[in-house]
Amino acid sequence: MWKWLHPYAEPQRAYQLAGKFIPWLSILATLMLLTGTIWGMVFSPTDYQQGDSYRIIFVHVPAASMSMSAYIGMAIAAFIGLVWQIKLADWMAASIAPVGAVITFIALVTGSTWGKPMWGTWWVWDARLTSELVLLFLYLGVISLYASFEDKVLAARAAGILAIVGVINIPIIKYSVDWWNSLHQGSIKMTGKTAMPPDMLVPLVINILGFGVMIAALSLVRFRAEILARNGMRPWVRELAQAEGVK
């Protein structure tokens, strides 16, 4: 497989390939998010317990579930970069981190604004919100470690190790927070296991997938910029810079 991948492991090829994917992914993400959000906001039935406040679910749950997936994706990229010493994978990991952090932030804020009408307070130490908060710290750790190194080759390796350590810890942290929550809080849960009518579930799933595609598209956009930034000494980047950069 590595032989087949090798031509794509060249920065220039990866740059071009990413450029071909980005428009399709962006269109797909926009379509999915539009469909899911409009369906959820306008056509999904009102929840008999929570009224219309539950409509926050269509942005909160996708952000929450994708924030975790993005971290795992970042850790996988970092692992590939560390073990097989593929710099492109390092750059990919570095590109995912800020996107994932913003998604986590969105999950936190929407969770909190959903909590206010439900529980009457802006913050509850609910298991999911607490885990999201810790996840945000993990993201910020990776980002600031990457930013702290002058030499970005080293920065990527250091941040990669941290991302892998973090991904091993995530299940443990999640388990411990769940246990702690059951000990102290009783039974506050954001979404019960009650069956959701398809008119709620389908737009939710569409939005979850839409968030995933959007994260991929944004990461690829950053990835392309990262390739350029790290290859500033290569002739093809210099030509590109002189053609586009001086304006």
């Binding site: 010493q85 002058e150 030499d151 970005k152 080759v153 790290r230 500033g232 000494m233």
Partner: protein, 215 residues
């Protein structure tokens, strides 16, 4: 140089070093055999220390690889480390420990069980200072505490970054003689220095030149 049947002790293959988006050297290849004394020369900032650190396996090159007897050093790290003696700018001498304790530790961590520290310290003119804390020694004595391990080693590859710093003329001469003896024994010495060497003649010394690159 006569053609040798043995594989080169250490070889650099297409090394590229990039520091903070600046190319220090690109596609650098050379071979170092037993018996070589190699000086890396070049102006400040040309990447001499970076090259030595890459050769020692402390830094990973941006591209290319370093081979120890034709095996990449990342794949035979333990064997390579056993054959390597590296002394950097920083001596690795603890100022809270005495000269003798420092030498003891340095040799034991390199794996040597049997040695007489006082005799080795006498070789570098530190007799009488064995029990002095390294923090109280002069710069030259401090440096000699670090260099002392050169007198008790079976490593083939010596990589020395500025070994003569703070060493007096007599000490430099002794070190040069030691290098020649080591090379004659089939070892190799790779070093950087800004000082002129008196004993190692120019035809004995191999030079690898690095230039400051602007792009």
């Amino acid at each position: 140089m006569t053609a040798q049947s043995n594989p080169p002790l250490l070889s650099a293959s297409h090394l590229t070093c990039i520091r903070e988006e600046r190319v220090l050297f690109d596609d650098l290849s050379f071979e170092i055999n037993g018996g070589d004394i190699v000086q890396i020369e070049g102006p400040n900032g040309a990447g001499k220390t970076s090259l030595l650190r890459i050769l020692a396996g402390l830094s990973r090159p941006y591209g290319g690889e370093v081979l120890f007897q034709e095996d990449p050093i990342v794949r035979c790290r333990d064997e390579f480390n056993e054959a390597l003696l590296y002394l950097g700018h920083l001596a690795g001498v603890k100022s809270e420990l005495t000269a003798e304790e420092n030498l003891n530790f340095n040799l034991r961590i390199s794996g040597y069980a049997q040695f007489d520290p006082r005799e080795i310290l006498a070789r570098v003119n530190l007799t009488g200072f064995e029990d002095a804390l390294a923090g109280h020694l002069s710069a030259g004595q401090h440096r000699r505490t670090a260099l002392a391990r050169l007198w008790h080693t079976d490593c083939k590859i010596w990589i020395l970054d500025e070994p003569f710093t703070a060493i007096d003329k007599k000490g430099v001469a002794e070190l040069e003689e030691l290098f020649i003896a080591h090379a004659n024994n089939g070892g190799c010495v790779i070093l950087t220095t800004h000082q002129d060497m008196g004993i190692i003649s120019d035809d004995r010394l191999r030079k690898i030149r690095l230039d400051y690159r602007f792009i």
